[in-house]
Symmetry: none
Subunit: 147 residues, 2 copies
DNA sequence: ATGGTGACCTGTGAA
DNA sequence: TTTCACAGGTCACCA
């Protein structure tokens, strides 16, 4: 997904496009999450092996799937800005709860004032190691072209 | 405590300074409250003999002790505003659960539009009758000078 | 639908 | 630098 200003702003949440959420993300129902409707905590590994934990839940009020807790930290530490892209992948070999999850991002803007992310001469990405899995579960959520 | 804008605003809660909460307030643990972590209901008597009941609990997420239910009513009826002070006292003659609790407040601002509180020529307070107990368990939480 | 309440979350400043 | 308190928020539930 190409992130919106709101996705990287003060709202501290990323809206996950509904169709992708319902196709590829773990369910957020009470039955699936174990009795409450508070969503689930998901661990995503980035290309550097760093694990990002986000709360993933459904907001009835806006009929939207969102990543909330943990997201603002991701934005800050990666220096993500509006127009940049994020993509999510999963290993897809077991059932949802056992799948390994991955996150990738690509910064479209140069001269970013990212917190501490390494900035290369090229457009910066969160690495594309996950592509080695050959899965494109989240296909369409973001461009998947590597560097 | 000198109350903050948030303490008297729409959040309907008072943050009890942690150090004082842990020293002088009843414990909020599951063992003490009887199995749930929903906090406890405490009755505080003011200088007029009026009893104010507040829910007192611990918020894990912010690592804070708070008074929630009942607090907004107290704010409304006393006309408490940011900068005013509230103080809590307890009789301290038995164990925590048997102690009698008191609340006192002092309004630092004149010309308040309090709901129905009597306004004197002096700074208004919630009376200082509790001082007759001679205890200052909450010493340091607020000035204890009477009017 | 709406407001009150409860639990959860985060940025920021200070220790 | 890291931790911590907390002021200022959010959303979900329930009556």
């Amino acid at each position: 997904k190409a992130v919106t200003p709101s996705d990287v702003g003060k709202l501290n949440r990323l809206v996950v496009p509904k169709q992708h959420a319902e196709k590829h993300f773990p369910p957020t129902t009470a039955a699936a999450t174990g009795s409450n409707g508070k969503g689930v905590l998901l661990n995503f590994e980035d290309g550097e092996g760093k694990v990002w934990r986000f709360r993933y839940s459904y907001w009835n009020s806006s009929q939207s799937y969102v990543l909330t807790k943990g997201w603002s930290r991701f934005v800050k530490e990666t220096g993500l800005r509006a127009g940049d892209t994020v993509a999510f992948y999963r290993s897809a070999y077991g059932n949802d709860t056992e799948d390994q999850l991955f996150i990738d991002y690509k910064k479209m803007n140069k001269n970013d004032g990212a917190a501490d992310a390494a900035v290369s001469d090229e457009n910066e990405t969160g690495h594309v190691a996950v592509k080695l899995f050959g899965v494109d579960i989240a296909g369409g959520m973001a461009g998947s072209s590597g560097g």
